[in-house]
């Protein structure tokens, strides 16, 4: 049977079938913001697209770290799989906290190996209504500023709590490659300053708002927060409603009550950060085999790359993945985005699925003796790949 499809019919069909792809009503404003140098923070979406981008960044970072530390990531990724045994990571207990009355900041432990510094951070909004924004203002070591670009992880640029996460706290950490003049010091005196931005006006939150809806709510006297990262302001100079990122709070001091928290602690030079685990060489499952290309601690944190070689359609039925302990209990509490990537390699005959997972270095002390990257299939079946950490 042959039937001609006109261009008009072709267009209408594709438009109809792709009608879920809706234009973003904020696109023009977002683009103008980006063009003016305000970068949109990384959204915590677990879509394949974002995951891929994160993975690309992570690869670049891993190779960079390998160069800095002499640790040959590339060898683990692509070649010889000999696993090195490196010293145990020991964190230095800090146990320091400060409170402004409205917010609390706590550091429990830190690691410093002569080149890299990492510490955990716990930040809590003690009056969770309204949500607040925490911004890392300054980090110094021995009085020397550590520039923002050296900071690998931050906990700022998100409303606490928010519509996606009702918990009034953030838990994360900072992992920093120190400037050369600080490297090798026997002890670091760390000073961390954060500013807390608490809205003066009542807050209206929504995950999705059109500019018109946002304007109406703002006119009612609300500070409108759009999703966990953004908010709306009126800019007189532009005579318009302006979408802004949460990190942009610094530009509107009149809209916030600002508190400053300053926390200081010392951390002596300790053990090497890098360490590689010894996973089983090959895991046999009912659906195929698997092996870790990378199972290591680097100065970027725990890094796992699991490669699955399915022998049936299991890889198309994977619904989720979790980092669990040895008993299959998910490890909760890390607020960082797991660095996860699913890759179907169709090069040659090697059909493989790769998961990558990163865990904040500052929180390594929370890891149990045995961990596992565990894949959950659509029917609930779990495929666990345990590793002995200690």
């Amino acid at each position: 049977m042959s039937r001609k499809i006109s261009d008009a019919e072709f267009r209408e069909t594709l438009d109809r079938r792709l009608s879920a792809l809706q234009p973003d009503p904020w696109m023009a404003r977002k683009v103008r913001n980006l063009a003016r140098g305000k970068e949109e923070p990384m959204k915590k979406r677990f879509s394949l697209g974002i995951v891929i981008l994160i993975a690309i960044l992570a690869i670049s970072m891993s190779v960079g770290i390998a160069t800095v530390t002499g640790w040959d990531v590339v060898r683990f990724l692509y070649g010889d799989r000999t696993v090195q045994k490196l010293p145990e990571v020991e964190t230095f207990p800090v146990h320091t906290e400060v409170s402004s009355g409205g917010a609390l900041l706590r550091v429990e432990s830190a690691v410093y190996d002569g080149k890299h510094l990492a510490f955990d951070l716990y930040f809590e909004n003690l009056e969770p209504d309204p949500p607040i924004e925490c911004k890392l203002d300054e980090l110094t070591a021995n009085g020397i500023p550590v520039s923002a670009e050296k900071i690998v992880e931050t906990i700022d640029n998100v409303w606490v709590p928010n519509l996606y996460d009702p918990n009034p706290f953030l838990q994360g950490g900072e992992s920093v490659i120190l400037p050369e003049e600080l490297q090798g010091k026997e002890i670091l005196h760390i000073c961390l300053k954060v500013r807390i931005y608490r809205p003066i006006d009542p807050v209206y939150q929504s995950r999705e708002l059109t500019p018109e809806e946002a304007a109406a709510k703002t006119e009612e006297g609300y500070l409108v927060i759009v999703d966990p990262y953004d908010f709306i302001v009126y800019r007189e100079e532009e005579e318009g409603w302006q979408w802004d990122i949460a990190g942009g709070v610094t530009e509107y001091p009149e809209k916030f009550r600002i508190e400053t928290l300053e926390i200081a602690f010392d951390v002596p030079k300790g053990s090497e950060v890098s360490r590689v685990f010894q996973p089983q060489p090959v895991y046999d499952t009912a659906h195929g085999t698997a092996s870790y290309d990378v199972a290591a601690i680097t100065d970027g944190g725990l890094r796992l790359t699991l490669r699955l070689h399915p022998e049936d359609d299991a890889f198309s039925r994977i619904r989720d993945f979790v980092l669990t302990d040895g008993d299959g209990t998910p490890l909760e509490g890390d607020r960082f985005i797991p660095d996860v990537h699913m890759r179907v390699n169709t090069d040659g005959q090697d059909n493989a699925l790769v998961f990558r997972y990163r865990w904040s270095l500052a929180r390594l002390k929370d890891l149990p003796d045995t961990i596992s990257l565990t894949c959950i299939l659509e029917d609930g079946e779990q495929l666990a790949f345990p590793i002995q950490v200690r």
């Binding site: 261009d7 079938r17 792709l18 879920a20 809706q22 696109m27 683009v31 980006l34 697209g49």
Partner: protein, 176 residues
Amino acid sequence: MGNVTGPGTVPDRDQEFDRLVDEYQGPVLRMCYLTLCDKTLAEDAAQETFLKIYRTMDTFRGECSEKTWIMKIAVRTCYDMNRSGWFRFMNRRVTPEMLPEPAAEETDESDTELTAAVLRLPLKLREAILLHHYQGLNVNETADALGISHSSASGRLKRGREKLKELLEGRELYEP
């Protein structure tokens, strides 16, 4: 079809940019999706496309149509995303089940079949088919947007139509 004017005051420029976003965001987003086969990537690519447009709109002098210029940027942006080493290992074959659920409008099985068939076309053929038959660029404009010669564009369109006919078991695009 309007053309972007030269440098002006900031409000004029922003107003003009708003118009471009209003007019082309939908086509750019769908073009990016049909090229990249991933909704989130397409959204990222569309934003990147408009960022490039915003930064370069003062230099557009109307050497080609406004739509050709915009599609050229969109295609190039998707091409850059596709070109990365990591992406080369990606198999982003989209099955009908993987297509985003349509919004309120009614669709039928043949809509899904045609869309999935387009997505199964090799990328080079798909780009040409989409620019010409979907975005409505003529062959010269399609060639310009893809940075190839007129004869190459014609060849890709011909092969694209043949391949699509094969995938659709007989249904075919009109060949002008």
